[in-house]
């Protein structure tokens, strides 16, 4: 939890990692990809405050103690959601697998939710593994990485028939939350790999599932927003938005937040630190203190304490069925859509203002 000016915030970090990218875990022959991947992540860390930067050696393989201290002890997080990233073509034991995450979670009961994953290119075997993981780790969410390489394939789409089999299986197994991460490669390579229209199709066809588009579809925020406006079960995962822009590009951060509040709405935005890329502490402190930096932002929806409470934890708590102690909940009537109606010139035309 985090407390500031008498306000109490329940914090759900809905997108974080416990990875092993040490050279000893690199697949022989794929070292350049394993190295390129972690160096790319490390460059993202460079967008946070200088005093939070780590040397690459620590960044490749931070420890359990680092994580528990940075996320829970110093980082105010109440519940953290592990999002696995396998990348087994590049990392021998995987980059961060469900097993690795769940093993850490088992040592700290009540602190973590272990999401799992699937890849439609794994066919029937993958379906079986998914069911096993749900059974073993109690996962109710998955992280999907559409640009992952798999046996010569450079990616897949959520609208592929193979993916629909998995989405059906998710419903059957009780999985509720589908976190989607777009990446730079997809077949065929001449198309835009970051395009989010496949999420649009899947969200329409699977209305009982929630689709949390991580990094708000960056670098296609505009396509994501147009789509999220029309789909009541599409959410904006803010990892990278807060971590990558709030400190490094504060004016762009304000514009992006304004647009997200307008198009997507404060009830469908969720905080994720993306740890170990960025520590949650400075992100939470900075976001609670944040407001638009000037009058030129007057026609964006207002940001209230209730807005921040929802984004930092209450929205994700709903998605994951986390019980929030009463003192952290909003009072009756607090944070109603009226918060958006206060925005100058927005109320009637804001697509986000209409009830989902």
């Amino acid at each position: 939890m985090y407390e500031k000016d008498g306000e109490k915030y329940f914090i759900v970090d809905s997108h974080m990692h416990y990875w092993n990218a040490a050279p000893s875990n690199w697949v022989p022959g794929a070292e350049q990809y394993a190295k390129g991947w972690i160096e790319c992540f490390h460059a993202y860390q460079g967008l946070g405050p200088a005093e939070t930067h780590w040397p690459i050696e620590k960044f490749m393989a931070y420890t359990e103690d680092d994580l528990m201290k940075d996320v829970f002890q110093d980082g105010y997080v109440d519940i953290a959601v592990f999002q696995p990233t396998y990348l087994t073509e590049w990392y021998k034991e995987g980059f961060n697998t469900t097993e690795r995450n769940a093993a850490l979670g088992a040592k700290h009961p009540g602190k973590f939710i272990a999401n799992t994953r699937w890849d439609p290119r794994d066919g029937d075997d993958g379906l079986k593994r998914l069911a096993e993981n749900v059974d073993r780790f109690g996962s109710i969410g998955v992280k999907l990485y559409t640009a992952e390489w798999n046996n010569g394939s450079r990616g897949w789409k959520l609208s592929d028939p193979g993916a629909y089999r998995y989405l059906e299986k998710c419903q059957e197994l009780g999985i509720k939350n589908i976190h989607v991460h777009k990446g730079p490669t997809i077949w065929p390579l001449d198309k835009d790999a970051f395009d989010v229209s496949d999420v649009d199709h899947a969200a329409t066809d699977f209305p009982a599932l929630n689709f949390i588009v991580e990094h708000v579809g960056l670098p296609r925020i505009e396509d994501f927003c147009f789509m999220a406006t029309q789909e009541p079960n599409v959410y904006a995962g803010l990892s990278v938005v807060i971590g990558g822009l709030m400190h490094a590009r504060p004016r762009f951060f304000a514009k992006v937040m304004g647009e997200l509040l307008f198009w997507v709405g404060e009830d469908k935005m969720t905080f994720g630190s993306d740890y170990g890329i960025w520590e949650p502490k400075w992100q939470i402190e900075g976001f609670v203190d944040w407001d638009y930096p000037g009058s030129e932002f007057d026609d964006f929806p207002r940001v209230t304490t209730a807005t921040k409470k929802k984004i930092l934890g209450l929205n994700a708590a709903k998605l994951y069925g986390i019980e929030v102690p009463k003192e952290y909940q909003l009072d009756a009537g607090e944070g109603a859509p009226g918060a958006r109606d206060d925005a100058v010139g927005v109320s009637s035309e804001s697509p986000a203002a209409s009830p989902a």
């Binding site: 460079g46 730079p184 490669t185 001449d190 790999a193 670098p219 505009e222 992006v256 647009e259 035309e349």
Partner: protein, 233 residues
């Protein structure tokens, strides 16, 4: 001709090459690592990108466009453009050198060339440019819907918007409407203006945010300035 003048000619040519996704010259983005021309007319340009995994299709377009721009210079007899430090460097560099086109450079992984992708992103540039041009005007939706390009005060942003529209084959003359659908070229009616402008602003915000992140990543990856990064910005 002194080498610095030749160098600036090469950089000026490279400044005509844009990142199709960010709609900015590769020089000002810092993507030109080095550019040289020998006495015998051999030019060699090295490009660099913010990450090892930047999208290979956009990377290919920049390398191919850079090749075309310097190969067209009178003093260049042989041109080489090399993308450094990228997972698809070999396929891109070899493909551009062989003038093979994208589909053949990525045999089995691509089915077509990149014209459609480029056009999609030009349309985004038109939307973002529409916000840049319209925001300072302070006109009502009815006035904006009636405005022609020739009515507007001259500005860099307006010239750029007209160039982008021309590249797409969209109306760009003095008599053309200021607000058009970037896909069809049809004028935007007054009723549809507020949402059109909202979309234009969002598209600009997205482009700006992406550019900001790319600059930050590049700065972390390479500590040196790119060629022409300051001079031509």
């Amino acid at each position: 001709m002194t080498s610095s003048i030749v160098g600036s000619r090469i950089l000026a040519a490279l400044a005509q090459v844009r990142d199709p996704e960010l709609d900015e010259p590769i020089t000002t983005l810092g993507f030109v690592a080095s550019a040289s021309l020998d006495a015998d007319g051999t030019a060699e340009v090295h490009l660099r990108l913010p990450t090892y995994f930047c999208a290979p299709n956009f990377a290919y377009l920049m390398v191919a466009d850079a090749y075309d721009s310097i190969a067209a210079l009178d003093e260049v007899r042989q041109a080489t453009v090399i993308l450094d430090d990228h997972f698809a460097s070999d396929a891109i560099n070899d493909g551009v050198a062989a003038r093979a086109g994208f589909a053949r450079s990525f045999e089995g992984e691509a089915v077509g060339e990149l014209d459609q992708l480029r056009a999609d992103f030009l349309r985004k540039s038109v939307m973002a440019g529409t916000d840049v041009v319209c925001r300072p005007l302070g006109l009502s939706p009815v006035e904006l819907a009636a405005a022609k390009l020739g009515d507007l005060p001259p500005s860099e942003a307006l010239l750029r918007l007209r160039r982008r529209r021309r590249e797409l084959g969209l109306p760009a003359g003095d008599d053309s409407p200021l607000l058009i659908d970037p896909r069809t070229g049809a004028p935007i009616g007054a009723d549809a203006v507020p949402l059109h402008l909202r979309k234009a602003r969002l598209t600009r915000t997205s482009l700006d945010a992406n550019t900001g992140i790319c600059r930050g990543m590049l700065r972390h990856r390479y500590t040196t300035d790119g060629q022409g990064e300051e001079a031509l910005s």
